[in-house]
Symmetry: C2
Subunit: 337 residues, 2 copies
């Protein structure tokens, strides 16, 4: 059991040791610890060693010269100079918020970035500023396009957020695969099985073996529909932004032959652009849906982000549980230069 | 077998008889015949009688005073005055294109509209102007939110389009249900079965009976993921625009107690905002994906919109097949005042 503040100090120390500025180390640490607090362990401390390895192998730039190009008062383009993804994404969402506050709508594209963790972490920042927001990012090959037997699309999340007139924001952060790749990775690390129907092995056969699934292909939800959504995300975050696309984003764990050059796209819009009473309307929307008759055994209809928020509050109190193998990695990273 | 031009004359005549201006009748006719040409019969002539019925019952306004409010050079808000959806959507996408051409990005929200047919029809207009575009619309209750046993969300399509550097645009137009409601409606009309796993009857039991499915609940793709996407679309097109939301959009076939007040949201962005060579990049993207090894029996990996385009070309040559029952409706609508 670890305390968030202590962990924060350790993670910052490790990242600074690896060449990041104090400012950038803090941005990364906050994002990583947030992932642990919301229960997305696959996007948290289990990735810290990978980030450090990539810095050592010079495929993440610890001292990036990030350029923000203003295209219009609403639109900005960021060249992240192969920074760690957290830093690029944090700068990008803050720019999108700024643009949206000024003009009603903010669109920010990022190129030459890397894996940025949870999309919801950035969208939440915009939602807290009373904006409705979306973001897209691509990722290393995991899903086979509909009709193909080879993986090419990443799990390519679609993320959307809205204020709710309460302290619990509406944050939909869903990959277009049947389950998140990170969950398969954690299952593999902990020698656990994955559900049926979510992946094929490298020979194209259904599998519940997490290791085999990682070497094979993940299945998109809804067949050609999920495949089409993954393709859309690849176009919006890769083709459109200047980032890698078409299966060229490198796997951060396995491929150190060069930077990832992931692309991200952030869109933020004032929630009260078209209606004066947005807060009242969204509250009513949620009320209408939550009062529906429920399936037997379901206590409450929750909106996206509600469960995550509950885990966050609970973990903030209880502290963060760190598995032994991750703890060992942390100690090693903290001691070894 | 009918010829598009002849059909166009008949449909325009019918709509003008029902009080639409020549201009508005032409907009509707083009959209309806396009639906037939791309093979989306559930969104074509099979709906014409319903639109006329709604005009007669005064829940569609045939002579709307559509107001376009300029919020910024990029952003417009349209009050469609309960016009037929086609007209509102056509004006909206043209405004979004105009705004995007001027400022790089165009966002147009519509309220007090109705069912507008195929989202892809509008997005294609933007794509032809070298824009990347998205749109969202809500629809009458069809899908149960995750955890509920009563339908509330519409099939709420997500539509995205991109130029492809060829005459065949990339148009993803996917509902978040397992299959389109229109397809179930057509199956019911033709007394055909629907696939397993796409719907429940009104008692919450799985069914392949189209009639029972229409009275029951459609299932979202990917469980809570599809449910979350449907919720997102309801927020973006309903809560955000000033349209109905939270299950309050009336079924156009069954509920004549008032106008639908559907909301739509259109976003259009210059494809070369962030990269100079967008056309080259998208061509490369499609090439990389289409050359992947294929599943046995699959000849070609197609991108969203490709099959639709093939059907369009073929039907344009062959003519449109009209089922007897629809033909009867057309004749009656054309003769009776």
């Amino acid at each position: 059991m670890a305390n968030g503040k202590e962990l924060n100090k350790i993670v910052i120390k490790i990242l600074k040791k690896n060449g990041l500025s104090a400012k950038h180390a803090l941005i990364c640490s906050k994002a990583l610890i947030n992932a642990e607090l919301v229960g997305a362990h696959s996007h948290g401390l289990s990735r810290l060693k990978m980030y450090c390895d990539r810095i050592k192998k010079k495929v993440i730039n610890p001292k990036p010269k990030i350029k923000i190009k203003k295209i219009s008062p609403s639109i900005s383009h960021i060249d992240a100079d192969n920074s760690i993804g957290f830093v690029a994404a944090d700068i990008a969402i803050k720019q999108a918020i700024k643009n949206a506050k000024k003009t009603g709508i903010g669109l920010v594209a990022v190129k030459n970035s890397g894996h940025y963790g949870l999309s919801g972490y950035y969208i939440e920042q915009a939602v807290k500023k009373k904006l409705v927001a979306m973001c897209f990012t691509n990722a290393p090959p995991a899903i086979a396009p509909h009709g193909a037997i080879k993986k090419l699309f990443g799990t390519n999340p679609i993320c959307f957020g809205s204020p709710t007139n309460s302290s619990v924001p509406f944050i939909l952060d869903t990959s277009v695969s049947m389950i998140n790749r990170g969950k398969i990775r954690v299952a593999a690390k902990n020698k656990k099985k994955i559900p049926e129907g979510v992946a094929l092995d490298k020979y194209g056969k259904p599998t519940t073996d997490a290791e085999k699934a990682l070497k094979g292909v993940q299945l998109p939800m809804g067949g050609f529909r999920g495949s089409g959504l993954a393709w859309m995300v690849d176009i919006l975050s890769g083709v459109f932004t200047g980032g890698n696309h078409g299966g060229r984003v490198k796997d951060p764990f396995d491929d150190f032959s060069g930077p990832q050059n992931i692309g991200h796209l952030f869109l933020a819009i004032k929630s009260n652009l078209f209606v004066k009473n947005y807060n009242k309307r969204i509250k009513e929307n949620i009320r209408l849906i939550q009062r529906l008759p429920k399936i037997k055994g379901v206590k409450e209809i929750v909106y996206p982000g509600q469960n995550k928020y509950k885990r966050y509050r609970s973990n903030l109190k209880k502290g963060i549980v760190i598995p032994k193998n991750i703890l060992k990695e942390l100690i090693k990273l903290n001691v070894v230069r």
